[in-house]
């Protein structure tokens, strides 16, 4: 088994290293990292990781800016990432941190760290503990922030 990690030079924090540390803390598994310029390059990077590097699941990390054009790019990237999953029957866990989710640089950095690690744990669960996800289903999990309260 092998995990792919795709990330960008556009992001303002090295989310991939956080995610990789978290993966390695939980699993002894080969990790293939692929860095591209921006989030719109992520879909094909994920596809190449899956089809050319034979990874079994991918973490796609990005940090879209806070302008309208950035929202559009993120939307395009997300659609491409979903399409890639459907073309390959492989999960790609998208970890996007939007600049306007936090009001200070420190807060944004902490969010990037927490969300990257939290989704790395989701990858571990999808690969090795699907029954754990089923236990948590419908409980309001949030990655990078406090969980929502179940109704």
């Amino acid at each position: 088994m092998k995990i792919g990690v795709a990330d960008t030079t556009f992001a303002r924090y090295d989310m991939a290293s956080e995610a990789i540390q978290e993966l390695e803390r939980n699993l002894s598994i080969e990790i293939e990292r692929y860095s591209v310029p921006g989030i719109k390059d992520l879909p094909v990077a994920c596809k190449k990781l899956i089809e050319e590097k034979n990874v079994d699941i991918v973490l796609a990390l990005g940090m879209p800016g806070d302008e309208e054009i950035d929202k559009r790019c993120a939307d395009q990237a997300s659609k491409g990432i979903i399409e890639t999953q459907l073309m390959t029957n492989t999960h790609i866990i998208e970890v996007f941190v939007h600049e306007d989710e936090a009001s200070t640089k420190e807060e944004l950095k902490n969010l990037a760290i927490k969300r990257s690690r939290s989704h790395a744990k989701n990858v571990v669960k999808l690969l090795t503990k699907p029954e754990q996800l089923q236990k948590e289903a419908g409980t309001g999990k949030r990655e990078g922030g406090p969980d929502a309260r179940p109704l």
Copy 2:
């Protein structure tokens, strides 16, 4: 025959259990459940249920938040779910409950319960009573709320 049920840990209520109860009340049929982190993970989860678990129809349950970003995610997920259906010639009944559809937690929970069960009944009809859907065509059915009045 087999029914797939895909749901998320993001949702704040265990809609899948409601749907499964309703399905079991109506049919004696094998059910395969697959829980993923968020709604954007649902399309490939549905595709895997259809192609790897051989289910004949899927219920895809999710509870998008009430911010603009949540609307975008729901839109991306819905498009992926439609694409999945076209790639597999298989119905996926999408059951999304948006946080801003209700003003209190109790109301939201009741909506989630009713819509999940109502769409579970639609799955039963699609599988075993298509003529019933034809009878109800054009009559303003609403899942989870009061039906609209026919014109």
Copy 3:
């Protein structure tokens, strides 16, 4: 030759019966009807009509509500319907009547009737009189309302 008619239980008027009457008034041809819960279920319903029931063309009838979420659903459905046509090289004539196109129930009902019948005629032309469509090209035809004036 065979015509498919797909419609929904969500719609508040039985547009399919109007369309079918109009088709039968013009052609002696087998019609296959397929009713599903909502407009987002229409794309795969059309695809199944084309690939499993071997219809040569489809009428897809729906009546989206007047809220923002309904607009999004209609957009998703329309994109899926276009995709289905491209996957099958088969025309699907989409007949959507939006609740906010009329100000009274009576007006909305009349619009639904007229548009359904008008597009049923388009189906007849596409199947049997393509030269008629060419004659009408660029003349400002509107289905369900008064035609626009040519420039």
Copy 4:
């Protein structure tokens, strides 16, 4: 070699005839015309022209209205037209004239004429003079209006 021309009965001016005249003025080539009801029917019309009538390139002409719903339809059609090109490796030159691009009927008509003819010339260049397009690259060409000034 063969050129496809797809147009609609919804349009308020016979753009196709303008385009065809311009094509015939420049090339001695077979032209296949296909008229459909609206712009959402154009993608599959183009695909059928390419795959069933074996045309080498297509002009897709349409005139979307000026309401929000028309913008959405045009967006859906455009996406379908791009998808069609990718499925067939064939250029489809989209010629859409939006009602709100002009303030009088006369102006709109003139725009429709000029843009149709201008894009017909682009088709001729793509087919027979690609080096001409390369010469014009980056020079601010506008079809139907005055060209933009190069920076």
Copy 5:
């Protein structure tokens, strides 16, 4: 190895020549240029470069206008470019300069030059120095403007 460069006659600056100069300064490699009318013609142009001209990577250059319709066209083009990458497992680096990113013609021209050259360097890195992109991952690179500060 071969690099494709796709550009438009709509753009108001010859971005392709800038990019090609930068590519040639860094690599001794064959370059295939393909000019089309507008950005919506870029996706199929890229696909043809990849599948008919056998290029290994593409630079797609465009300069969308500053109106709402231009934003929509850019969105359609971007989605088509992502789709093309997924269909071919080949990177296409999109270089779009939006008219409203600058307030004077001079500024816009400089942005077009810098972004074209900067992305040409990304192409070089993707082709020959992927480890360099990994070093720069998460450091806030911006093409054409000052880099963002890492968090």
